[in-house]
């Protein structure tokens, strides 16, 4: 039999997270700080709207780009939050999660050999999506001393004549890093100067802490026409299972993305779209309530880890902290494996998000305080057993 597989897909490495998941699910009474989704249920009024849409028999396709009403709400939202104006007919499309938007943005823009700059540590799908389009991923290793922000110098050093796209993964999964307006301004200037497009994954935009509100790179001069803003409902409204995201950007690119979407997906789930309208219309208070909860857990975790002698920069976004575990004298993977074996606690090794995640682990605080306290006791015991105090 001939090899049924394509060369490009066999070259893509399986997700480093998958392996860990298999071990954890085998282990009885293991607890986990390893999830990348909110612990809250979708607020009831949003779910209720989904139920109602089913009762009404709204069980058909929507237009390819999604419900007009939802696109209108998204346009209002982006204007309200980031002062970004998009034409609902040509510049906004609803996707199956932010993930689909990432995929089709890359497919719409990358020619074989084009270089795509990916700052790491970052979400696991950027790299394979570039590989699948025969693009060339160029990794920037973000540094702890910069609080895992992308610096102008790092970006300049990574740019070549072949650079076409920069992926901006902020607020960041797994580090919790954010980019301030000042940080972004410099990056934006370089993108304009070097004629680089940006895929800005802003899925955690609602989850920032302290005074720092999320800024989109599309807000800067000359950036709107070269940026695909990607966002969705999963993190802000606790709607991961609804699989709903969106992309906003210039028609030139969006129209091609829509073509791929049209042929591969048709349209995002209709029930989810109706629920999402309700989320954007009446969900501000829910977001605020959940963000407050995350913030309390974040502060609590940081303090507790500090008291155990485990260092961590203060993350101001998403719901992760990314502590430095180098003083344990183990690799990230060894740390995670040992912690699981000895204390039955699962965390994700930093290396799952790029080689430069070595020496770090990702801890999610999308858990109740009760769950976090139990987990922290296990980390404390682990630290003690390994002579870290």
């Amino acid at each position: 039999m001939r090899n049924p597989l394509s060369d490009v897909i066999t070259e893509v490495k399986p997700s480093g997270i998958r392996k860990f998941f298999d071990i954890v699910s085998e282990m009885k009474d293991a607890i986990s700080l390893g999830v990348g989704e909110p612990d809250f249920d979708t607020p009831w009024h949003i779910r209720e709207e989904g139920i109602y849409s089913l009762e009404r028999g709204r069980t058909y396709y929507t237009s390819n780009s999604g419900l007009k009403e939802l696109r209108e709400e998204i346009a209002r939202y982006l204007e309200r939050k980031n002062n970004l104006k998009y034409d609902i007919n040509h510049e906004i499309m609803i996707t199956v999660g932010g993930s689909e938007a990432i995929d089709i943005a890359m497919r719409a823009m990358i020619n074989p050999g084009d270089e795509v700059i990916i700052p790491q540590p970052s979400y696991v799908s950027y790299l394979p999506c570039v590989q699948l389009t025969h693009g060339v991923p160029v990794i920037i290793n973000l540094k702890e001393e910069d609080e895992f922000r992308l610096t102008a110098d790092e970006l300049r050093a990574a740019i070549t004549d072949k650079t076409k796209i920069l992926v901006m993964p902020f607020p960041n999964n797994p580090t919790g890093a954010i980019m301030t307006r000042e940080d972004l301004e410099e990056i934006a200037k370089i993108c304009v100067e070097k004629d680089i497009f940006v895929i800005s994954d802003e899925i955690y935009s609602e989850l920032t802490y302290g005074d720092a509100k999320h800024v989109s790179i599309a807000e800067f001069d000359g950036m709107r026409e070269r940026t695909i803003v990607i966002n969705g409902f999963s993190k802000a409204y606790a709607m991961t299972g609804w699989r709903l995201g969106y992309a906003a950007g210039p028609e030139l690119i969006l129209s091609q993305m829509l073509k791929i979407h049209q042929f591969c997906i048709m349209c995002a789930p209709t029930t989810s779209q109706y629920a999402a309208v309700e989320a954007l219309k009446n969900g501000d208070e829910d977001v605020e309530r959940m963000t407050e909860q995350y913030n309390m857990r974040r502060r609590f975790l940081l303090e507790e880890l500090k008291s155990m002698g485990i260092e961590c920069f203060e993350p101001l976004g998403a719901f992760y902290i990314f502590p430095n575990i180098k003083k344990f004298g183990m690799t990230s993977e060894e740390f995670a494996t040992n912690l699981l074996k000895e204390q039955k606690l699962a965390v994700v090794p930093g290396t799952a998000f790029g080689d430069c995640g070595e020496g770090f682990i990702r801890i999610s605080y999308a858990y109740s305080m009760e769950q976090l306290k139990v987990a922290l006791e296990r980390i404390r015991a682990f630290a003690k057993d390994h002579g870290v105090e």
């Binding site: 997270i17 954890v24 390893g34 979400y123 857990r297 609590f300 699962a346 305080m369």
Partner: protein
């Protein structure tokens, strides 16, 4: 800081103040002072425990009584409300808008005890013009806590 403290205490009044301080990014002393201050100002009026008496096997009968009253000159509803809330049997008394005046909630061990309270004490008050008593058949949710189901974390243990 007050609103944040209250938001947490409303759901969990037994929280350790050191833990609360860490959650709020404050010192324990500052949080303890603020709590003490709010107790003094009667912003915090008590720390109660939410009990599912049915599960505890205890007989409890809860009733909501809609009371219509004649307000007294110069006192409005306050005087009559006081006459009612002073009874030990009474859990809460609210002044209401709409078809009746006072919502009186009581908890007793038997239906007969509720009936006796309404007939002998409440209706006997001079300003009370009428009562409509409703018995609680089942509590699904109380003070924000769902009593009929347990929350289970059904998420996959590790996701990107």
């Amino acid at each position: 800081m007050r609103k944040e403290i209250l938001d947490v205490l409303e759901r969990n009044s037994r929280i350790d103040l050191g833990e609360l301080a860490k959650m709020l990014g404050q010192t324990e002393v500052a949080v303890a002072n603020e709590v003490a201050e709010m107790e003094k100002e009667h912003i915090i009026c008590g720390y109660h425990t939410l009990i599912d008496w049915e599960k505890a096997g205890a007989e409890k009968v809860n009733a909501l009584i809609e009371v219509t009253v004649t307000p007294q000159r110069g006192m409005g509803f306050d005087k009559i409300a006081e006459r009612i809330y002073k009874f030990d049997e009474v859990d809460s008394v609210y002044l209401m808008s709409g078809g009746f005046d006072l919502m009186v909630m009581i908890e007793e061990t038997t239906m007969k005890a509720v009936a006796n309270f309404v007939m002998q004490k409440l209706s006997a008050l001079e300003s009370v013009r009428g009562c409509a008593t409703h018995f609680v058949l089942k509590k699904y949710k109380d003070h924000g806590a769902v009593l009929v189901e347990d929350a289970v974390d059904e998420r996959m243990s590790i996701t990107p």
